[in-house]
């Protein structure tokens, strides 16, 4: 099992989750974070940290978000590790309530 970063993170990338991860399993892309499923220990500490509720355990991922399980696994292979919180994109707040952001994802 693992935890998964979902669509809500795209263009928001608040990075609050990164600070609390006990095993540093977050990976950073240009406008989204993902979780490396081989590193995540399912401690669930990151879930309440996310201001846009973008993180869920694999089992709880809703149907329309299922592709993100595979996407986290794929993208985490090439994206660098992020272990410290940083400022979100300037327009993060404008994107935080938007749905359907998958077309905005920069790989």
């Amino acid at each position: 099992m693992t935890h998964v970063v979902l669509e809500s993170c795209i263009r928001c990338k608040y990075t609050d989750c990164v600070d609390v991860c006990p095993v540093d399993c977050f990976r950073e892309g240009p406008n989204m974070l993902v979780i490396d499923p081989d590193e995540c220990i399912d401690c669930a500490v990151c879930i309440p940290e996310c201001p846009v509720n973008a993180i869920l355990p694999e089992e709880d991922v809703p149907n329309d978000q299922l592709p993100f399980i595979k996407l986290n696994a794929e993208l985490s292979r090439n994206w660098p590790s992020i272990t410290k919180r940083k400022a979100p994109p300037a327009d993060a707040d404008a994107w935080k309530d938007r749905r359907d952001k998958l077309d905005q994802l920069v790989r």
């Binding site: 081989d38 590193e39 401690c43």
Partner: protein, 367 residues
């Protein structure tokens, strides 16, 4: 419920007589570590418990003290705090010694089969068995993220208060919105031996996680001009000619950055767990968790057991109740190391006069 921190006594004993000799050392005072004391106690195995926090409860106290837990068998609902308090009451008969505010730094197996365990405070143990109940690691303060500010750590920047006297008479900025931030704010504003010259509390919102009574008191003190509260975030700092931290830049919710002079900066962003050194003890590891068998929950080093969130095995679920089960079997698994000659029988607390004796309760008379 209060737990005596016996570490002062233990440290004295340590300095006179070398390491503390014990049957068992438990690393971690979360719910599973506490219940491990109980299960060992029933088998008359004495334990010392070490935790990096200054108090027992682990994640239950640090992450969700007030949130309800619904999946403890026979307890329909309780909070993390209640669970911890009840466990402490349950283990009272066994007189475990607690060593708080220290992390285990060394675990070595000696030639006689015992383990040499040492903590960051220099407390040393010689233990026949070790139980790692480390959860997801030791709790560390969350840092303030301003480039360069870490240079002032422990001189002008503090994430915890060890010695309140060093803040007396100083101009303080306190950042945070939880109980630690509010409690220390009130402590330093109000009359007393540690009263500060001035206190400014900074929190990113005008909503607090702290106890409502503390928040009300803080607002009262603001109205009486005894202190100030500002909504905003620290975004930068300035040094004086001597290179000391002299001013803090605070950006308000209005986007305006104000400059606040200060002597000392106290930051209370809460704590988060970091797995840290447990991964380096040379034990078998899978995805940063300790691999155990499911008969005794023993690691690949005989005599070292791992229980609760820190361990992994096929089908593992990170539930408190799984940790309780693991603690029971680990205790039985450890008994042969502690009492090599003794045959260990399973006895029931309902009927066993021997267990009634170790629990310090009367044996009931059955009609």
């Amino acid at each position: 419920m209060q737990v005596d921190d016996n570490s002062a006594i233990a440290e004295t004993a340590c300095s006179h007589d070398g390491p503390i000799e014990t049957d068992a050392v438990i690393v971690g005072a979360g719910p599973v570590g506490l219940f491990q004391v109980f299960e060992l106690g029933l088998l008359e195995i004495k334990a010392h418990v070490i935790d990096s926090l200054a108090y027992p409860g682990g994640q239950c106290i640090e992450l969700y003290p007030d949130k309800p837990i619904y999946d403890i068998p026979a307890v329909p609902v309780c909070t993390g705090k209640e669970l911890t308090d009840n466990l402490l009451k349950q283990i009272e008969p066994f007189g475990a010694t607690f060593h708080f505010g220290q992390e285990v730094t060394v675990v070595d197996k000696r030639d006689d089969g015992r383990f040499h365990v040492e903590t960051s405070k220099g407390t040393r143990f010689l233990a026949k068995t070790v139980f790692v109940a480390g959860g997801v690691g030791s709790f560390q303060p969350r840092m303030l993220r301003i480039d360069g500010i870490e240079a002032f750590l422990d001189s002008q920047l503090f994430y915890r208060v060890r010695n309140p006297a060093q803040f007396a008479g100083k101009n303080l900025v306190i950042i945070g919105g939880g109980d630690s931030a509010l409690d220390w704010t009130l402590n330093f504003v109000q009359d007393g031996p540690h009263r500060a010259e001035s206190v400014i509390l900074v929190h990113r919102r005008d909503v607090f996680r702290a106890a409502p009574a503390s928040v009300a008191k803080m607002r009262e003190l603001c109205e009486a001009h005894e202190m100030q509260f500002t909504v905003g975030q620290a975004t930068g700092f300035e040094r004086d000619d001597a290179g000391r931290l002299s001013k803090l830049k605070i950006t308000g919710s209005d986007g305006v950055t104000r400059i606040v002079p200060l002597d000392m900066l106290l930051v209370f962003f809460g704590l988060s767990p970091k797995l840290g050194p447990i991964a380096d003890w040379g034990l078998g590891i899978d995805r940063k968790q300790l691999v155990v068998d499911t008969e005794k929950f023993e690691t690949d080093v005989p005599g070292i057991f791992a229980v609760g969130d820190i361990n992994t095995y096929p089908g593992k679920k990170k539930l408190i109740l799984s940790g309780f089960h693991e603690a029971a079997l680990a205790a039985f698994g450890a008994a042969p190391y502690v009492f090599p000659e003794k045959r260990i029988l399973l006895q029931y607390t309902t009927t066993s006069p021997k267990l009634h004796k170790v629990l310090g309760v009367e044996t009931p008379v059955f009609d």
